[in-house]
């Protein structure tokens, strides 16, 4: 019997002593040894050589396939990881001192205008048109107040047309 069997024999005796009453250990050990001798005396048949050859061939093919598959999966994962790392590095380096000044379209307009809410004050043409509109509005209010004027309707229409023309011109730029 080989070393392994000897080791398990020692292991078994020790176990019996741990789990049984000391007086029962020798008989139990004898029963087990006798049973194992019966098994040793009646060896099971060995597998056919054809079966063994077939299994070896199957394993060789499967091993090759499995290894190739693992290489492909691992290689693919490696490539993906490399791509992610490269993109991350580009992102990190893009923020570094080597990069030129960042382009901001807001810088094309003066900051004072960009932040101002008073559009009329920021553009000279707008100032001009706005003052004309205010003037016409004042004239219209004056005409509305003087209802005795005989040519009120004609004057009002003229003023409205002027106002419309100014607004059209304003939006055309």
């Amino acid at each position: 019997m080989d070393a392994m069997r000897e080791r398990t024999r020692e292991n078994l005796t020790e176990l019996l002593q741990r789990f049984m009453e000391a007086s029962a250990v020798p008989a139990t050990d004898r029963d087990i040894q006798a049973g194992e001798r019966i098994l040793e005396a009646h060896p099971a048949p060995a597998p056919d050589s054809e079966t063994i050859t077939f299994i070896k061939a199957q394993m060789a093919m499967a091993g090759l396939r499995h290894h190739q598959w693992r290489v492909r999966v691992f290689g693919g994962s490696l490539a993906t990881a490399a791509a992610i790392i490269t993109i991350a590095l580009i992102g990190l380096l893009g923020r570094g001192p080597m990069q030129g000044p960042a382009v901001s379209f807001a810088t094309l307009l003066p900051a004072s205008i960009w932040e101002s809410d008073n559009l009329a004050a920021d553009d000279l043409e707008l100032v001009h048109f706005t003052s004309e509109i205010r003037q016409i509005e004042a004239q219209m209010q004056a005409l509305d107040a003087d209802e005795s004027d005989t040519d009120v309707n004609g004057t009002l229409e003229d003023l409205e047309n002027q106002l419309l023309a100014i607004e059209t011109e304003l939006w055309k730029g």
Binding site: M4, R5, R7, T8, N11, L12, L15, L16, F19, T28, D31, I32, A34, G35, E36, I38, L39, A41, H42, P43, A44, P45, A46, P47, D48, T51, I52, F54, I55, K56, Q58, M59, A60, A62, G63, L64, H66, H67, Q68, R70
Partner: protein
């Protein structure tokens, strides 16, 4: 180079998909694994199939082997394969009529299915083994063919060491009585 180092080298070869390493594992363990399957099934063709399935599983799972006793790892797979076979057999059995299922379990029929013609002694042991309950039979075979320690066997079977020890004692004692009777 010692046996352990040899085995470690062979297993490394298996992990790399090396055909020679696989062949060496088959040469080292096919006999014991085949004996385990044969003693549990009493059927050579079925044992061939289960053995083939075992070694194909080995190819598939060798990457998950993390060291320790290789025999324990291998026989754990063998035990799982045998149990899967039993579960499949139970499913098939449900489709058959009760009489046919009874006949399949008869030891006499198992004897007649042994086709290796290796003699009366062999047939007699196989027949007597089938008089033991399936769980005890498997425990005896696992202990005998895997040569695992009782601690490893108890872990594999998820039962206390004392229980496994007691079952083995009763089983082997009964087998001796049957063989001598």
């Amino acid at each position: 180079m010692d046996k352990g180092a040899d085995l470690a080298r062979i297993i490394d070869g298996c992990r790399s998909g090396d055909a020679d390493s696989f062949a060496q594992v088959v040469d080292m363990y096919a006999g014991r694994c085949y004996g385990y399957f044969y003693r549990l099934t009493g059927d050579r063709d079925l044992s061939d199939e289960l053995l083939s399935e075992l070694f194909m599983k080995l190819v598939e799972k060798i990457g998950s082997y993390k060291g320790g006793a290789f025999e324990s790892w291998l026989f754990k797979i063998a035990s799982n394969i045998f149990h899967d076979h039993l579960r499949g057999k139970q499913r098939r059995r449900k489709l058959l009529d009760a009489h046919r299922a009874e006949v399949e379990l008869e030891p006499d029929l198992n004897e007649s299915r042994i086709s290796d013609g290796s003699g009366e002694k062999l047939d007699r042991l196989q027949a007597q083994l089938h008089r033991l309950d399936a769980d005890t039979r498997e425990l005896i075979m696992l202990r005998f063919y895997s040569e695992m320690s009782f601690k490893e066997i108890a872990e594999l079977r998820s039962e206390p060491i004392g229980t496994a020890l007691s079952k083995l004692h009763r089983g082997l004692k009964k087998l001796r009585e049957l063989m001598e009777g």
